[in-house]
């Protein structure tokens, strides 16, 4: 039973079942579970958890309301700081943010802030779905502003600009909105029905969404400004996949994580042939990397039906940047972790299909810039892993298209767009935020950046 120091964990689909489906793994709290968990919160005066939250949600107050079953007050408290709580409640790395600061964490389990957030937010979904039936709000005649990209940064920026009273248009390159929430994070971690509610809610409040609009080709930012958009927000993410430039990387069935996940999440290849886009998962699927992306790929491959799924990671499990919960889930589902291992070449058959991956063993040396111990190759330790599909998940960087086609935008040597404290770029009236500014980061920081920029854009336009 529950005591002050033991968390109520959400019920989860058993590993044996969930290996075979794309439904969500944690099933959500019942009301009683949520209240019991909320009651563990000490309501500390200084609420250190809030400092751990990148957007400073008033965690103490929302849990306080929950303790009194004031569900509407609880959700409205969250909305003050976080407009995507259904999403962040599921995907935020709470264990290294709010929950890491929880006083209870020192003596036992931290309060499950993320799970409570999800509970409160999910409770509000029905009301929001109902509201979608109203006709879209008419914003004609208001000052026009543009948002490029419909990921969390763009969604948050558009929502706030809409509230400030602008005629907002989001230009999205894909045929479906949502950014990584739609094409990257799998259904079993973030149901697409939730992302749809977020997008549809925006449209219902009067935000215009233009899909299939690739800024830099379909039009340039300079052209948007000339067309009477008073300010532009760039939230185009960090979507350019990185490869390792090792021999054989272009063999058939060697994918980037972005391609593999896009085929499944956006194009629904897991429902092939009902949907037309295919994907190969292979009998033995190897995934290179140790972050959230790599784990999403591995767990997707398991669900698609690979018999063996290996995660090849060059450091040890301790250094893996992925969320702990995801690592635990993946191991439960049967993923094999090959830590301290690095690929050096891919070998294929005579038709150019991947057959095996040549790897080396690694050991950990002195700490590097990131503070983690540097992996060093053990000479002569080469060995082969049989794999017919491999997914390279070693990170992504900003796509250069927008910077290339906007002469006044300055970028850093990493290709990220330079902004000042208010989120304004080196081009007047053009703001940026999210992964395009920070490099690949998190949903909550992208959302926060979108909101900061919206406030700055409002100030900027008022002064025009």
């Amino acid at each position: 039973m529950s005591d002050r120091f033991t968390a109520i964990h959400m019920k989860e689909q058993p590993a044996e079942d969930r290996r075979k489906n794309f439904s969500e793994v944690p099933c959500g709290y019942t009301e009683e579970e949520a209240i019991l968990e909320a009651n563990r919160c000490l309501q500390c005066k200084n609420a250190p958890c809030i400092e751990g939250c990148p957007v400073a949600i008033d965690i103490r107050s929302f849990i306080g309301h929950l303790q009194k079953r004031e569900f509407d007050k609880a959700i409205n408290k969250i909305y003050e700081a976080d407009i995507l709580p259904c999403v962040t409640g599921r995907v935020c790395p709470q264990e290294s943010q709010c929950q890491a600061r929880c006083v209870l964490d020192k003596k036992g389990d931290a309060v499950s802030i993320g799970s409570l957030e999800r509970y409160v937010a999910d409770r509000d979904l029905d009301r929001r779905r109902e509201a979608l039936k109203d006709a879209p709000v008419d914003v004609s005649g208001k000052t026009k502003v543009a948002v490029i990209g419909s990921g969390p940064a763009g969604i948050a920026c558009a929502a706030d600009l809409n509230r400030y009273g602008y005629d907002v248009t989001i230009f999205e390159a894909f045929h479906k909105a949502g950014g990584v929430l739609t094409y990257g994070i799998p259904e079993f971690r973030l149901p697409k029905a939730i992302v749809d509610v977020e997008i549809n809610s925006l449209v219902q409040t009067g935000v215009k969404l233009v899909p299939n609009a690739l800024t830099g080709r379909s039009f340039t930012i300079d052209e948007l400004m000339a067309e009477d958009y008073k300010a532009v927000f760039v939230g185009s993410g960090a979507g350019l996949p990185q490869f390792m430039n090792i021999p054989g990387e272009n063999l058939n069935n060697v994918y980037s994580a972005n391609e593999f996940l896009t085929r499944v999440n956006l194009m629904k290849a897991h429902r092939y042939p009902e949907y037309d886009t295919p994907v190969k998962h292979g009998k033995n699927c190897a995934v290179i990397g140790g972050g959230n992306v790599a784990l999403d790929v591995a767990r997707t491959a398991i669900r698609l039906g690979s018999e063996k799924v290996y995660l090849i990671y060059r450091r040890s499990q301790e250094e893996m940047p992925a969320r702990h919960e995801e690592i635990r889930h993946a191991l439960e589902e049967g993923m094999e972790l090959l830590a301290l291992t690095n690929p050096v070449a891919y070998h294929g058959d005579e038709s150019g299909f991947l057959e095996k991956i040549e790897c080396v063993k690694m050991e950990l040396g002195e700490p590097d810039d990131s503070g983690r111990r540097r992996p060093i190759v053990k000479e002569g330790s080469n060995f082969f892993i049989e794999a017919d599909v491999c997914v390279v998940s070693v990170g992504s960087t900003p796509n250069p298209l927008i910077a290339m086609t906007t002469p006044l935008l300055e970028t850093t040597k990493w290709g990220t767009i330079k902004v000042d404290d208010n989120g304004m770029t080196t081009m007047p009236g053009v703001f940026a935020g999210g992964d395009i500014v920070t490099g690949a980061a998190t949903v909550i920081t992208a959302m926060g950046a979108g909101r900061t920029a919206a406030a700055s854009m409002h100030e900027y336009i008022k002064k025009l």
């Binding site: 690739l214 379909s218 490869f243 990387e249 295919p278 299909f353």
Partner: protein, 277 residues
């Protein structure tokens, strides 16, 4: 929505469609392509912009029915709409001071070559077009291309029209005759583009090809379209689709085009099976 204004067959298995897409037509240039998503469940299919009309706000595609994806597009009728069309994507063909240009189109490649030839022609460049078809019944757009070419040569595999043989025979002849050629632009099946590259390489004639890699996103975020050019990995959708033919690893390109052969056949058989019921 992307409404189909007009749609008809040009030749066996070859279809034409003109699509309402004002935002795209405004920017479209020869050499660029579109991503077409026929309906919600369809693949993202890359197709070259075969023509554009900025006044009407339309772009045209010419495509060959290959597998399920292109058959699905072909089954759309005028008045219906595609789910999504992205573009114009890819780098436009640039005129680099050439005086004499040879454009080569093989089969379906005749369509993308047309706006390129027109652009050079309009800019006063001497255009020689060499176009190859399987036979007489497969001819299309030879008249359109003739109107924007100073010289025009047709080849067919069976000799039913023009020269019997390949486009490379005619190109070789021009080279042997020492006709001035500043650049060759060739679009067609990979094997044809490779053959053209092999003909021009020993003579150091600049040669450009437009690659037809597999694609998913068509906007530089997935890497499905990667090709090796001059020993470096490039993304066809962002860095191309046009590349220096003498540097392209055609063997790898052809290998990668075969990645889904098994699945494609099943999908196609099933789709055509359905629609025949």
């Amino acid at each position: 929505m992307y409404k189909i204004i007009e749609k008809y067959s040009l030749a066996p298995q070859i279809e034409f469609a003109r699509i309402k897409a004002p935002m795209i037509s405004k920017k479209a240039e020869p050499g660029q392509f579109l991503i077409v998503v026929a309906c919600e469940k369809s693949e993202r299919i890359p197709l070259t912009i075969a023509d554009f009309d900025r006044e009407e706000g339309s772009v045209s595609i010419v495509f060959q029915k290959m597998g399920k994806g292109t058959h699905k597009i072909a089954d759309f009728k005028a008045g219906e709409s595609f789910h999504a069309v992205l573009g114009p994507q890819g780098n436009p063909t640039e005129i680099e001071g050439e005086k004499n240009i040879v454009v080569i189109g093989g089969g379906i490649g005749v369509a993308p070559v047309y706006p390129i030839a027109r652009k050079f022609h309009e800019n006063g460049v001497h255009v020689t077009s060499i176009i190859g078809y399987r036979g007489k019944d497969f001819l299309f757009w030879d008249d359109k291309l003739a109107a924007v070419s100073n010289e025009m040569k047709i080849t067919t595999n069976d000799g039913s029209v023009g020269h019997k043989g390949f486009v490379t025979d005619v190109l070789q002849q021009m080279i042997d005759n020492k006709e001035p050629i500043d650049r060759v632009i060739a679009i067609g099946p990979p094997i044809m583009m490779k053959a053209v590259a092999d003909v021009t390489r020993p003579h150091g004639i600049a040669t450009t090809v437009s690659l037809n890699s597999l694609m998913v996103c068509g906007m530089g975020m997935c890497g499905a379209c990667r090709v090796t050019v001059g020993g470096e990995v490039k993304f066809t959708c962002m860095d191309g689709p046009e590349f220096d033919a003498h540097k392209v690893d055609f063997a790898e390109l052809m290998q990668r085009l075969g990645m889904y052969k098994d699945l494609e056949k099943d999908a196609h058989d099933e789709y055509k099976g359905d629609s025949n019921e």
